[in-house]
């Protein structure tokens, strides 16, 4: 089957760079399955799980906490704020992060800039997605 190059990078390291058949990306406006030959796109990501398919089977599942993806017909570059293989996620961590994010959201006053409120809300949602992912693993 046709493949494309998937690169997953976080600021701290290059996590993945290889030929895959399909990748499912948690784009900001809904999950997005990418196959080879996809039309060029730049999307923002929300917190969620990237799934990778190779040789007809799902081989990798990684949690990303937000970021961007650049899609072109022969390659996909995911710039993740952070990325962890699902197996390494811990529920305790995720729960702590939810608590922190919710506390931060409460502190944001309605008079603040909209962008700041959105960012705080997004962080809560990303943390919840992390817990879901941890439970699913």
């Amino acid at each position: 089957m046709a493949t494309f190059l998937l690169e997953l990078v976080s600021p701290e390291k290059l996590l993945l760079s290889r030929q895959v058949e399909m990748a499912t990306i948690p784009a900001a406006e809904g999950e997005m399955g990418v196959l080879p030959g996809h039309s060029p796109m730049i999307v923002t990501l929300r917190g969620g799980v990237i799934r990778v398919r190779e040789n007809g089977a799902e081989t990798e599942r990684l949690f990303v906490g937000g970021g961007f993806a650049e899609v072109s017909p022969e390659r996909v570059t995911v710039l993740a704020d952070e990325a962890t293989p699902l197996a390494n996620l811990s529920r305790a961590d995720a729960e702590r992060r939810i608590a922190e994010a919710e506390a931060a959201l409460k502190e944001v006053s309605p008079t603040d800039a909209e962008a700041r409120r959105d960012a705080a809300l997004e962080r809560v949602l990303a943390a919840r997605a992390m817990l879901d992912a941890a439970q699913a693993a």
């Binding site: 976080s10 784009a27 796109m41 999307v43 923002t44 961007f68 570059t77």
Partner: protein, 294 residues
């Protein structure tokens, strides 16, 4: 002439110093390797980010509602210098070189009648610049005591800069840090952060057809979340390079110190042996002349 006992004490103390500098050199070498690996690991992200920003930025920069972080405030009056140094010394001219560049820049900018604000990352830069420019300080940040600098640390610096930008506290922001060239040479460098420099994007746009991207949600939204991250990654990269450079510089400095201590031990030992010889000769002369007198 120093007595034999004094010389022996000197030799021992220099030997101890040599032991310490040698150990520090070894530690610096180990940490250098780690810091270099970390800086290396951050590179792919920064490169991809640059590519995306170049293709996106060139398209949006020309439009009137472009974000401040990309095009600046339009003014050129208040400059913010983010000065990245190490938290520790004993690294040769490492911190001083950055400090000197920063000082030269501040002087030059003020001579042009501009207002300068300083934000330091790392203790040494703060203490160097405070002596002269305490009134320009907008803040100081230190990662002292951290084993490893995480991306979130750099992000906190970026957030600080972003807040200042939103509050309209500066027009132009540049980063002054030691660029890591190789283990023995670090180059103090100034790099502009805001407005974001886009040389590659313009070149790419000029050279012809680029892939036409679809944007989801839309250009502005993506740019709005891309730019703060770009700021963070630039700062992260600078801090990592500076850290790697610091250990490189410290290694070189400690290597020199070890060698100097060795030279000094040789000189002192020679001196010690000469003195010992002279003492023996003198005693012999005393005995012989005493025997002859009889």
């Amino acid at each position: 002439m120093a007595s034999l006992k004094d010389l022996r004490m000197r030799i021992n103390s220099v030997k101890n110093t040599r032991k310490i500098t040698q150990a520090m050199k070894m530690v610096a070498a180990a940490k250098l390797r780690r810091a270099q690996a970390q800086a290396e690991a951050a590179r792919p992200y920064a490169e991809r980010m640059e590519a995306i920003l170049a293709s996106l930025g060139a398209a949006v920069a020309a439009t009137p509602g472009a974000p401040q972080m990309l095009v600046g405030t339009g003014a050129d009056r208040v400059h913010l210098l983010v000065v990245v140094t190490a938290d520790r010394g004993l690294a040769g001219g490492f911190n001083t070189n950055v400090g000197r560049l920063a000082r030269a820049r501040i002087r030059a900018l003020e001579a042009e009648g501009k207002v300068v604000k300083i934000l330091t990352v790392g203790r040494k830069g703060a203490s160097y610049l405070k002596r002269e420019f305490a009134s320009r300080f907008a803040g100081e940040i230190s990662f002292m005591g951290k084993k490893r600098i995480e991306f979130s640390d750099a992000e906190s610096v970026a957030v600080r800069v972003t807040e200042m930008l939103e509050a309209g506290e500066f027009d132009v922001c540049s980063l002054v840090y030691n660029r890591f060239q190789n283990v023995i040479s670090q180059i103090p460098t100034e790099q502009r952060l805001i407005p974001a420099p886009l040389p590659e994007g313009q070149a790419a746009a000029a050279t012809g057809p680029q892939a036409l991207y679809d944007y989801e949600p839309d250009e502005e939204a993506i740019l709005a979340s891309l730019l703060p991250r770009n700021l963070a990654i630039q700062i992260y990269r600078a801090v990592l390079e500076s850290t790697a450079g610091f250990y490189g510089s410290q290694m070189t400095a400690m290597d020199n110190a070890t060698r100097n201590a060795g030279d000094m031990i040789n000189r002192l030992t020679l001196n010690y042996n000469r003195t010992r010889q002279a003492n023996i000769t003198r005693e012999l002369i005393e005995i012989i002349s005493g025997a002859e007198a009889l």
